[in-house]
Amino acid sequence: MTAATHVPDSRRGDAEGGQRSPVLSARGLVKTFGRVVGLDGVDLDLFPGEVLAVIGDNGAGKSTLIKCLTGALTPDAGQLLLEGRPAQFKRPQDAREAGIETVYQTLAVAPALDIASNLFLGREKRRAGLLGSVFRILDQKGMRQEATQALSDLGIGTLQNVAQAVETLSGGQRQAVAVARAAAFGSKVIVLDEPTAALGVKESNQVLRMIEEVRSRGLPVILISHNMPQVFEVADRIHIQRLGRCAGVVTPASHTMPEVVGIMTGATTLAETPGRPVG
């Protein structure tokens, strides 16, 4: 199971060559918290159908970057472009409405609600006709059917009963619910913040398969992770954050894991370690 097996090199070539236009771009993002500089002018490009990993040491600005891309924080300066058009997200809701779905590290699920309710949280389906428009009655049956479908589409057969409360699920299953929600509603970009941080090996692999499944539908994924083997397994490109800046964008083919860790920790730089030429 190596990185090369499931990513056609041509796709990387496209992305690298810039022939395709990026789905989501950030230019010169700056975010400060008082005197603390979270982001110090960061550029990022996400191309269609790719998994872009964002890695970095603690405090490198990974989470701040992601929050700025998904509306959880508003950047102090800089610009976001969604499909070439300037975009401004003041609230998470704005980013969601624009088609960017995020799975937060803190797992934004409501434990006491069931799986179907959580999948549709914040955008519940209503019954057709007057019952829905006037009396605002929920279409519980429809939501349960679609939830079951969404879960089985991502190959999560283990969650049979979508009427089950989320608090009765294991960490991996909760993560699966959160990823399924993003995959079901994300129309342009899916962002996953440390999706495997709290998971065991088997559950992590399940989430990685889900990421590949999402990519195979043509949806680009931004994956924030600490886990180098996982990053090298699924990522097409790797954006390395260091001290609030982008220290370079590499690919699993051009650089080895130790080289990437070196750039990430500041032991070396991208200029000193240009890596192997791709293609």
Binding site: L121, G122, A165, E167
Partner: protein, 342 residues
Amino acid sequence: MTTTTPPTTAAQQFALRRQSPLQRVQHLLHAHPAISPFLVLVISFVVFSALNPRFASPNSLSLVLQQVAVIGALAVGQTLIILTAGIDLSVGAVAILAMMVSAKMAEGQGLPGPLAILLAIVIGTAAGALNGALVTRLKLPPFIVTLGTLSVFTALGLLYSSGQSVQATDIPSVLSWTGESFRVGEFRITTGVVMVVILYLGVGFALSRTAWGRHVYAVGDDKEASRLAGIRVDRVLLSVYTVAGAIYGVTAWILIGRAGAASPNAITDANLESITAVVIGGTSLFGGRGAVLGTLLGALIVGFFRSGLSLAGVDDQYRVLAVGLLVILAVAVDQWIRKVRS
């Protein structure tokens, strides 16, 4: 239950183990939290009937319903607020303020009855919205906000009415219409009791069948998760406090009918009694868990204890003692069933 492959590992066998009876009870209660208050209600009914057969008579049961109506109505609003992990200490004060202003206006300035009722509901709604605004805009804890407005509204009610009651005979009869009764078989039901039942059905429906209800639970369960899921948390909270206020306004009307007068010193312990009904009914003080059905059962349980123990010839302090123990038991059961894992 289909098992396609036989369990192979020790862990899988453990997962398929037979649950102990206690664990099954825990899972059952987790899925249906109204079971425990329902059992308490049935058991207390049986015990009190055995102690004094008059307890189960239609007369005495009708009286329990009338006694429970006011606190039961306030407890609907209290349930909404507790579901969002808040608390409302100002319930009774809001109802009294709404009642005193509308009764005085109807008495002194001769405001027509229907307008006086509307005024009570408007005052309740405005008071609830004020609580909600303080909670969401100033980000103050609900306990502090409503502790403050409890005093403010109580004082305003007393100042406006100069501490004087208004007799039902001095105001339009529609204001005490809620106290009028009709016969259903052997039972005497007041229109106030019917209104309380409608309140429960309406709020129960909104909580279980609408997106708003789903959001109320989600906000109480995990505020941050709800925000990230795109729910406008502050809007939901504000709507909850406002709806609760409107319910307190309606309760003011029910209270005039029940008491036969508008007295600024009525229902002084309404806040604690309504919280008691909510908690005994199995709604979690930590938010996100519970239902108005449980609150109805909780209010009835308190009513049963009052009526049953007095008919059994026991000092009323034993009722206070028993209700106190029930509250502690109910919260302990809530803590226990929250620990369920599959």
